[in-house]
């Protein structure tokens, strides 16, 4: 039995869609829908996360408003997805982070920046913070930064583990070891290429209206690749620091810097693009999410912006303040990894995996 209004509406919509099936060629959702014999909370949790919000099925729906059926798959699935993030989130007392994403971001950002500002003041004294600095480790030792973020990373990974295993089981996926390698490969390929944002004809998605566009897919690629480059830049920096004994800051032509700067610029462009797409989206496809979706875009953007600002501020009195802001952004981003929009990537990957797995059954 449906447990709430959103699920009940999603089941109503899927029942009509399953009798129509015209959208079968657009994405993975509809063929997956046809495999279900009944619609339940569990397969709505699966199908809604399989939906990439491309909007094709809405723009092409003969039963959309003003038809009395009022079908709108992307809108109800967006709502259902967010409810699934809330429902499976660990620990449950963090659920307000999903329900009030914008407030959560603002609060964590403010607290984190203040925390780092006070830490810098505490560690190096008020006298040093506005004095021109070349090396930010003079303001905050590497060990303190590494310690703080390692601890955060542990919290993030534990939260992911607890949250995702609950989702994994709820959508009836078997043990990870019993799933074929080829299934993993297929799911990963769909995720990395964003196959489900191509509309089925390769011309893209319909979030902004009746004309297909590839821009959402491209901007998402920029964000994802930019993020991965920055992640590797950080890993490489850690390797340089501990294994090669070469501490930051690095020159412009060193590998960590090249990866970081390239990634950072890609993140800036990608996030700005995604933000712009969201602003110009067909409003019928999106629902009020209290800033949940935009908070990840905003944090990635701010983190990149302040990160790219650090080498520019080197040798000026702004470095100390900028460092506090940047580290605050990174910490707020870590909290978003655990409890914010960031987890959509994992939910979607698991849904894609479940889809590929069902196809093999």
């Amino acid at each position: 039995m449906p447990t709430n209004q959103t699920t009940a509406e999603a089941i109503r919509v899927m029942t009509i869609c399953n009798a129509c099936r015209y959208c079968e060629g657009h994405c993975a959702v509809f063929p997956a829908m046809e495999r279900q014999t009944v619609f339940t909370q569990n397969n709505i949790d699966f199908l809604s996360n399989l939906c990439h919000q491309c909007g094709a099925c809405y723009q092409h729906c003969q039963y959309a408003d003003p038809h009395e059926f009022g079908i709108n798959v992307p809108a109800v699935f967006e709502q259902a997805r967010r409810e699934s993030y809330t429902q499976f989130l660990w620990p449950t007392f963090m659920q307000p982070a999903v329900l009030h994403g914008g407030k959560f971001m603002a609060t964590t950002l403010l607290l984190a920046i203040s925390l780092f500002f006070l830490a810098i003041v505490g560690l190096s004294g008020m006298s040093k913070i506005f004095v021109p600095q070349v090396n930010f480790y003079n303001l905050m030792p590497h060990s303190v930064m590494a310690g703080a973020f390692s601890l955060s990373a542990v919290v993030v990974v534990v939260s992911w583990w607890m949250t995702l295993r609950r989702y994994w089981h709820s959508i009836s996926l078997p043990s990870p070891w019993s799933i074929r390698m080829s299934t993993y490969r297929a799911a990963l390929a769909s995720a990395l290429t964003l196959k489900n944002l191509d509309g089925g004809h390769g011309e893209g998605c319909y979030e902004s209206g009746e004309s297909p566009s590839l821009w959402k897919r491209r901007h998402h690629h920029l964000v994802l690749i930019g993020f991965v480059l920055c992640f590797f830049a950080t890993l490489l920096g850690t390797f340089y620091h501990y294994s090669l004994n070469v501490p930051a800051p690095y020159g412009w032509l060193t590998l960590p810097k090249i990866l970081g700067v390239t990634g950072g610029i890609m993140l800036l462009v990608g996030c700005a693009g995604l933000f712009w797409i969201k602003q110009t989206a067909d409003q019928r496809l999106v629902s009020q999410d209290n800033g949940y979706g935009s908070s990840l875009t905003a944090l990635l953007f701010l983190t990149s912006l302040t990160g790219l600002g650090l080498p520019i501020a080197k040798g000026t009195g702004a470095l100390g303040f900028l460092l506090a802001v940047h580290l605050g952004c990174v910490l707020a981003l870590f909290l978003n990894f655990a409890w914010g929009k960031f987890i959509h990537g994992f939910f979607r990957l698991i849904a894609l995996l479940a889809d590929e797995h069902q196809k093999t059954q």
Binding site: I16, A19, C20, H26, H60, Q62, E203
Partner: protein, 463 residues
């Protein structure tokens, strides 16, 4: 308030036929105005509810499987129409359908492999990716880019026809009257299946119990004006394509999801609880079209498809669940038919079934013997609760009555030459080719083929 505007070509109706004509004319450089009676969100007439067309094609044409040549296509058309077709126009349609896929793809329409459950159409029919509304959106986008002047909610269109020539017309839009003139007029405004008064003229009071599967805007106003102006009628009003659909579907625009595919798996009774036709004569896709008429002939135009638990999961899921019960008596009460009569019908049916191996995907051995109306296939005893009942009503899809045209899509005058500047395309003239019967996807084919012809000829006349 009246403003006058002049165009080379005016197109009435914005479904596939009208859009094709408007685009074709505009591509020759003609100035084109397209009047659509529906608001933007409901534009596209019945094209909005369609999903495929039937093109003649050689081997290897995407998205088709196999080849479908001229002779086979013509054979199929002659068989379903029982010869009720204009041979020259039928052959023209089939020849020209060869270019339909390319034309649509060049104008932004995407195709896909056949939908699941329609695999038997994979060789003959090309499916629109996302269905008819996706096609409609693509073609409007293309038309607007070409500069076609598109007007929505253009109601109360009144044609000013002098002799057999179109002069100008007026229409209402948001309580304003506008007058536009054109050198040529393409009429592509659909049939009259949503006009229950007109249907009643042919069907009597039974028409009031018909459900309209498609657009509520196909009232036949333009068709009526052409006939009243003396253009030649083809077909008669009693001919319509009606299928058996869920009796609880919306009065209009129910479309594809109102279908009920359980008929061959059980029995169908009228509201006296009696069977009236062989439910297992052939596969449902080949028979649903006759069931509309069969049900229209029953008292109150209603029937009930009754199955037992054995049929569950063997047919396409429906939007509304069936009425269900563990006893026949209670089911009869729910559908308000005499319980003893239904018991008797099912008892006699069960006793007449002959044992054999059941296969719902083949014309199997299960049939009945000795009944006044036997069931030829898939006849299994109705004995396993829960029992299900779907109310069935005639769902009207399209009408055959139209205007006669020639091979240049010009509308014909009863005696004499065709009109030199009035053209027709789509459902308004489909009866020239499909005089009766049904061939999946032929309506869209005629719409595109005669849309192109009408657009080309209308523009040629205007220049």
């Amino acid at each position: 308030m009246t403003s006058i505007t002049h165009f080379d070509v005016i197109v009435l109706g914005g479904g596939l036929a009208g859009l094709t004509a408007a685009i074709t004319a505009a591509e020759t450089g003609a100035t084109v105005c397209l009047l659509e009676i529906a608001p933007r969100a409901l534009r596209g007439g019945n094209t909005r509810h369609t999903r495929n067309l039937r093109p003649m094609h050689a081997l290897g044409a995407f998205p088709m499987e196999g080849a479908y040549d001229f002779d086979e296509y013509l054979d199929d058309l002659l068989r379903v129409t029982a010869g009720d077709t204009n041979h020259a126009l039928a052959e023209l349609t089939i020849r020209e359908s060869n270019h339909a896929l390319t034309w649509l793809q060049e104008h932004g329409v995407a195709f896909q492999r056949p939908l699941s459950g329609t695999l038997h159409l994979g060789r003959t029919n090309a499916f629109f990716l996302g269905g008819g509304k996706a096609l409609v959106n693509s073609l409007y986008r293309f038309a607007v880019q070409l500069g076609v002047h598109t007007i929505y909610e253009a109601t109360d269109i009144a044609l000013n026809i002098s002799g057999d020539r179109f002069v100008d017309l007026t229409y209402q839009q948001i309580n304003n009257t506008h007058r536009i003139s054109g050198k040529s007029l393409v009429t592509a405004a659909g049939g009259f299946e949503a006009n229950l008064d007109w249907l009643e003229e042919a069907w009597g009071p039974a028409a009031k119990n018909f459900l309209v599967r498609g657009t509520p805007y196909n009232k036949g106003d333009i068709l009526r004006q052409l006939l009243d102006a003396g253009f030649k009628q083809i077909g008669d009003a009693a001919q319509c394509h009606a299928v058996a659909i869920d009796g609880r579907a919306p009065a209009y625009d129910g479309g594809i999801v109102s279908r009920v595919d359980s008929v061959p798996l059980g029995i169908v009774v009228n509201n006296e609880g009696k069977r009236f036709y062989d439910e297992g004569q052939d596969f449902w896709p080949k028979r649903y079209a006759i069931w509309g008429r069969l049900i229209a002939a029953q008292t109150d135009q209603i029937g009930y498809a009754i199955t037992d638990a054995k049929a569950e999961g063997l047919f396409m899921p429906t939007v509304l669940p069936p009425l269900k019960s563990t006893t026949i008596d209670d089911l009869a009460r729910q559908i308000n038919i005499p319980a003893d009569s239904l018991q008797k019908t099912i008892g006699e049916f069960n006793a007449a079934t002959v044992s054999g191996s059941f296969d719902h995907q083949a014309l199997d051995e299960c049939h009945t013997e000795g009944l006044p109306i036997n069931k030829s296939h898939w006849a299994r005893q109705i004995d396993t609760p829960p029992y299900s009942a779907y109310p069935l009503r005639p769902g009207i899809t399209f009408t055959y009555l139209g205007v006669a045209v020639d091979d240049r899509a010009r509308v014909q005058v009863e005696h004499g030459n065709p009109s030199e500047n009035i053209f027709a395309a789509g459902e308004m003239m489909a009866g020239n080719i499909l005089g009766r019967g049904y061939l999946a996807g032929i309506g869209m084919t005629i719409g595109n083929v005669f849309g192109r012809i009408a657009g080309r000829e209308a523009a040629r006349h205007a220049n």
